[in-house]
């Protein structure tokens, strides 16, 4: 039963490993969870989820898995057979009055107890739709948690204290923490920080204490001072931003990315383009007509060790990429695809950040085209996407041979 949970979590891309699963089993066998499903939910959450961004996924999977047990099993008997005996007993104590318990103890023991429980549950099932006291009292029973009758349990959730227990995961409190949301500047900066690469360059101005001590010890006590240069972030980033037209709804998020990048990288240069880079780029949006820079000049200015980050929604007519002369704002002798190829050849470490949601990508032909041209290095502008993009940039610099 726990294995189902484990596998479903893996399917839902919650990173759980065998180690966590074994820990969960160990904890359960040591009785940490007691016999309440709520505790089991808390325990498994604490063992299996290590990042608050995955809590919402976990809640969803937990709800599904333990609902699934009932639908697959079909009848009530089969379902009861799947639940550990202790839980059943604990539940019986909750459902049956003390007098009834005593009577059962006298009469027939466990079988009798189960029989009575079954009747009671069947009864409860029928009365669920009326929404009377049964629903409230069964709030903490595993049946409720397993979604034996989800429709019934949800009645009056907000007010009834007992019901609160069953639907902890149904509330999905952690929805906001999912990492597919848009970002603020600070989050951007944290993600961009991945790209930092420190190197010691320049004049030796800092005392290297460790080397001094080792050197002194080696020299038999004669002071041997070692100096070293300061650490600097030596990453250089070239940022190309799409402006105007279809990018208007994304202005805010682009501004945030830009200001985050500004404060994060010492070597940052930016240029604007419209829809797709062609023969000209510009620095200042207000003077885009009279202060344009030929793309060739940009290509020749920044050497291949710069990282290229293109930000744009890549949504346009497919001809604007494939055909010469189809650009909306200028007469382009060469197609957008040709220019893209040039940029990518020159800067092997490159990514495209796309603020439009990935689920729309496959419906827009131009996005698919650019995605292909970027060799899959197009990422959504979410925390997760940015994170992947930065990883890719780091990898790209190490993995590829220096170009021409």
């Amino acid at each position: 039963m726990f294995l189902d949970l484990f596998l479903s979590l893996r399917n839902a891309k919650v990173p759980v490993s065998l180690r966590e699963y074994l820990t969960l089993l160990e904890a359960v066998s040591k009785g940490v969870a007691g016999f309440s499903v709520e505790d089991f939910y808390y325990l498994s959450r604490s063992v299996l989820v290590k990042d608050e961004r995955n809590l919402d996924k976990f809640d969803r999977v937990f709800g599904q898995v333990f609902k699934g047990v009932v639908t697959e099993a079909g009848s009530l008997e089969e379902f009861i057979a799947q639940i550990p005996e202790q839980w059943l007993r604990a539940m019986a104590e909750k459902l049956l009055s003390p007098e009834e318990m005593a009577e059962i103890q006298g009469a027939g023991g466990f079988e009798e107890l189960m029989e009575r429980l079954r009747q009671r549950l069947a009864e409860q099932n029928e009365e669920h739709h009326g929404g009377n006291k049964w629903i409230g009292t069964a709030g903490t029973s595993p049946f409720g948690a397993y979604g034996y009758n989800p429709a019934g349990i949800r009645i009056g959730q907000a007010t009834n204290r007992h019901n609160r227990a069953t639907k902890v995961w149904d509330r999905r409190d952690f929805k906001n923490l999912d990492d597919n949301l848009e970002l603020g500047t600070r989050n951007f900066r944290m993600a961009l920080r991945r790209l930092r690469k420190f190197a010691r360059e320049g004049a030796a101005t800092e005392l290297d204490l460790d080397a001094t001590i080792t050197g002194t010890a080696r020299a038999g006590g004669w002071l041997d001072v070692h100096m070293r240069p300061e650490r600097h972030n030596k990453i250089k980033v070239l940022l190309l931003l799409d402006v105007g037209g279809s990018m208007d709804p994304h202005i805010r998020v682009c501004e945030e990315l830009f200001s985050a990048a500004r404060s994060e990288f010492k070597h940052l240069e930016h240029y604007y383009f419209h829809n797709c880079p062609y023969g000209h780029l510009w620095r200042d949006n207000a003077r885009r007509w009279d202060d344009r820079v030929p793309t060739w000049e940009v290509l020749n200015t920044y050497p291949p060790d710069w990282k290229l980050v293109i930000v744009g929604d890549a949504s346009m007519s497919p001809w604007e990429i494939s055909t010469p002369g189809a650009a909306v704002e200028e007469w382009n002798e060469e197609s957008g695809a040709e220019w893209m190829r040039r940029l990518l050849d020159h800067w092997p470490a490159a990514v495209w950040l796309n603020p439009s949601p990935p689920r729309h990508w496959q419906w827009t032909e131009s996005i698919a085209m650019l995605h292909e041209q970027m060799a899959g290095r197009m990422y959504p502008m979410t925390l997760e996407g940015l994170d992947q993009a930065m990883r890719e940039l780091n990898r790209g610099s190490a993995g590829l041979a220096p170009p021409r």
């Binding site: 904890a27 808390y42 604490s46 063992v47 290590k50 990042d51 608050e52 002194t216």
Partner: protein
Amino acid sequence: MSKFTGTESYIATPDLMVAVNAALTLERPLLIKGEPGTGKTVLAQEVAKALGRPLISWHIKSTTKAQQGLYEYDAVARLRDSQLGDPRVHDIGNYIVKGKLWQAFEAETTPILLIDEIDKADIEFPNDLLLELDRMEFHVYETRQVVKAAKRPLVIITSNNEKELPDAFLRRCFFHYIRFPDRDTMAQIVEVHYPGIKPALLQQALAVFFDVREVPGLKKKPSTSELLDWIKLLVSEDLSPDELRAGDTKNLIPKLHGALLKNEQDVHLFERLAFMNRRGN
């Protein structure tokens, strides 16, 4: 083994109790995350108090190295002693300074070890502590000695999410995310800190507080610790609930807002909202 169920001065939610008890039972580290000011660091102190165990806290800074938690070799002192001809110099053990982890491993009663704000340190920091936290032992190179915990201490680690922690490290921990308390829990928390506070004042203060948190576009939402400070001010100024309420309609800025809003822009935002509100009336 005794179980943690919260203390007189700390309200623990059921999920937090399960997480702490799981970490206690299985002797694994417990990683605590959550909004700033939701009581992550205080948790360790309260667990120590509740279980009657000593607390050893290790506060992490950006310059902290994992090695410092184990031990440090004071080479400079030894060098000085050697030049002064001090006889102590012959025993290298005299120059090994024990770190917090060592102290925790050696302690007579099993302590609680708090590793505070682990995300402040270098990215590699958690990885460097993997084996030490897993096996609760380490090797002292200088003295050829193995330090091993007789009883495994409960390790509580807090993080503010400034850096991602490595997967291998996370796999070895229990994890708990302290959610922002809801209104009922918040009322309990305030009650615990200021017993006998006037219910009307508490109600009103909480209403204002949660309203402030709802305001869109705040840079730093006020959290539990700010609320407690603010209520302390309210109590010491002896404001009546009516005065608080009056503050609500006339201008939006709550009384003594300095305790709640820590950011100039946020105060400006409030002033703007208040201005618009007044014009609307």
